[in-house]
């Protein structure tokens, strides 16, 4: 289950083309598949031309925020007054998301190539690939690929004979979801607690070690070589719905569905086709109840909304949610939404860095109130209390972790209120022990 599958005819495989090909992990195997041609080409290009190409392609951040990558690169100073840094965000920890793991496990050189091109474009001689500590296999594979890339002259003081210095290191995290937030990630590399920083200053002005820094997600960086090879017009043409959402996107489908796994489709692909065709639909005798299309931090969709959702930045907005990281969590009619929402808020309570009161207290109290409801000790007022708490957790903190905890609670109560009420009025027996 979930392992690389033969691509479905409706998939458009760019990033996932070689998932499952063990030989693609080696330098030679990667070069045989056209690897490092884009880097060689990029190293002979004007830096501004590369940034323009990425802007024109419309590539947007695949980690969750959807910010245009080329625009972000354009914020970096043109006249360096000190070192610049690139951070590759491989701290993939958003519940429901497991695409970066597969990119690193199967095509480590694709990520190295994307990082190297980006480093060159933003004048960063050093790149840190920040991988979450639990990804032991991905870390090992990336380390091996980096050693090979150095040995073959792709990286180092004279990258591919261009005279350009490109150094790249893995920095291992140690179990903190919050380090996927870009400023927390930089603090973590600096040997500090992973507390997010107040912005501004933005990383392009004062980032890692106080120097101009760009942070991009693994999937975003891995798309870069394809754009350099085939051009922005081609990439821009990969769009099924809104021209502001371009390219392919990996969707990590998980939960109660026949065939979970990573599916790569063109932006604007219908969620209903992804679930019912590519993923083989619901398990036997089950129907779709709810779906979270962008990782656990985005609002939950009910069945009707899910079936109307087009998978791009705007299409998700149109049904009141977000594309996020593309982690698609599926719940069928057997799922207990109250319990599952409690598991999500429990996650955020565990992962709060505790800097901001609204988050530290809000995530914990939200979880306790939900546990009280699940224990059969809730009151109808608790639902208003949860909504009130959520409102005070939205848009009030340094980073969006508190907002992310509020999203499933608010959408869950609004769309599945009857399930909460059933616990409160005793129609459904308690599922957890009293707290």
């Amino acid at each position: 289950m979930g392992y690389p599958h033969e691509p479905h005819p409706q998939e458009t495989v760019l990033l996932s083309q070689y998932f499952g090909h063990k030989e693609a992990r080696t330098y030679d195997g990667w070069v045989q598949r056209g690897g490092y041609e884009a880097l060689e080409k990029a190293l002979s290009m004007d830096r501004e031309r590369i940034i323009d190409e990425i802007k024109e392609a419309g590539l947007r951040g695949r980690g969750g925020a959807g910010f245009p990558a080329g625009v972000k690169w354009g914020f970096m100073p043109k006249e360096p007054s000190g070192p610049h840094y690139l951070c590759c965000n491989a701290d993939e920890s958003e519940p429901g998301t497991f695409k970066d793991r597969e990119i690193m496990r199967w095509t480590p050189h694709a990520l190295i190539e994307g990082c190297a091109i980006t480093q060159y474009a933003i004048r960063a001689e050093v790149c840190f690939i920040y991988i979450r500590g639990e990804f032991t296999e991905a870390i090992e594979i990336m380390e091996l690929a980096l050693a090979e890339a150095y040995a073959r002259g792709v990286l180092g003081d004279n990258a591919m004979g261009s005279g350009q210095r490109l150094d790249m290191y893995v920095h291992r995290g140690a179990g903190a979801y919050i380090c996927g937030e870009e400023t927390a990630l930089m603090n973590s590399i600096e040997g500090k607690r992973g507390n997010p920083r107040i912005k501004p200053p933005f990383p392009a002005a004062r980032g890692l070690f106080g120097m101009p820094t760009t942070i991009n997600n693994v999937e975003t960086l891995t798309a870069v070589p394809h754009i350099i090879n085939r051009g922005s017009s081609w990439y821009k043409s990969l769009s099924l719905s809104n021209p502001r959402s371009t390219g392919t996107k990996l969707f990590s489908v998980c939960g109660q569905v026949q065939k979970p796994g990573n599916y790569e489709v063109v932006m604007g692909f219908p969620l209903k086709d992804l679930l019912y065709d590519l993923c083989g639909g619901m398990r036997d005798g089950r129907t779709l109840k709810a779906c979270i299309p962008g990782g656990s931090s985005v609002p939950i969709l009910n069945r009707e909304e899910s079936e109307a959702c087009l998978l791009d930045y705007e299409g998700c907005q149109n049904v009141g949610t977000m594309l996020g990281s593309g982690g698609v969590i599926v719940f069928d009619d057997s799922a207990d939404m109250v319990y599952q929402i409690m598991r999500l808020t429990h996650f955020y309570a565990h992962e709060s860095c505790a800097q901001c009161t609204q988050c530290r207290e809000g995530t914990a109290w939200t979880t306790r109130i939900l546990q009280r409801i699940l224990a059969g000790e809730g009151a109808m007022e608790d639902l208003d209390l949860l909504l009130d708490l959520s409102e005070h957790m939205t848009g009030r903190t340094i980073c969006p972790l508190a907002d992310s905890c509020a999203a499933p609670v608010v959408s869950g109560i609004n769309k599945f209120r009857n399930e909460f009420e059933a616990y409160i009025n005793g129609a459904k027996p308690a599922t957890v022990a009293a707290v």
Partner: protein, 164 residues
């Protein structure tokens, strides 16, 4: 009870060279703190306070800063754990596919009884972990540094046998 044994320093010989090599990557010594904490944990199985003091001395930091950082990150053990440390993902996507049954199987077959406790033979500690980032491969677990996915309750006895 745990007998107090003399702390064996980590950063000597080859390990010192390894740390010096890592230090080359960063513009200051503090940035090598997470790598140094990993090295101490790899050597001792956990991070004793003496280890934090050693790191502080080697990297020119205060012991308080090292402890503050070590306690922030959940993967660093601040107290001894079983010989094999088992982490089972129980966040929603895994949960809805039966991850809690996998947890119960581990608690039963290791003899740990409860989460966070070490088994009477000292072999295992089992915890629930928040999202392991392998949600399509339920249930993913970590045994020490071994990432294993697709685990079902039925597989647990055989898996444990490999670590006994």
């Amino acid at each position: 009870m745990h007998q107090k044994t003399e702390y064996q320093p980590v950063f000597t010989g080859e390990q010192r060279e390894k740390l010096d090599d890592i230090l080359q990557r960063y513009p200051n010594k503090q940035a090598a703190l997470l790598p140094a904490l990993w090295m101490v944990q790899d050597a001792h199985g956990w991070i004793p306070e003496d280890g934090m003091v050693e790191i502080a001395e080697v990297l020119g930091l205060t012991a308080a800063h090292v402890k503050g950082v070590a306690t922030f990150y959940t993967m660093f053990h601040k107290h001894p754990v079983g010989e094999h440390f088992i982490q089972v993902c129980t966040t929603s996507p895994c949960n809805v596919c039966g991850a809690e049954d996998v947890v119960h199987a581990f608690l039963e077959h290791t003899g740990c009884g409860e989460l966070g406790a070490t088994s009477p033979d000292g072999k295992f500690t089992v915890i629930e972990v928040e999202c392991l980032g392998a949600c399509g491969f339920v249930t993913p677990i970590l045994i020490d540094d071994d990432f294993i996915d697709g685990v079902t309750p039925e597989m647990v006895p055989e898996l444990l046998a490999r670590y006994r």
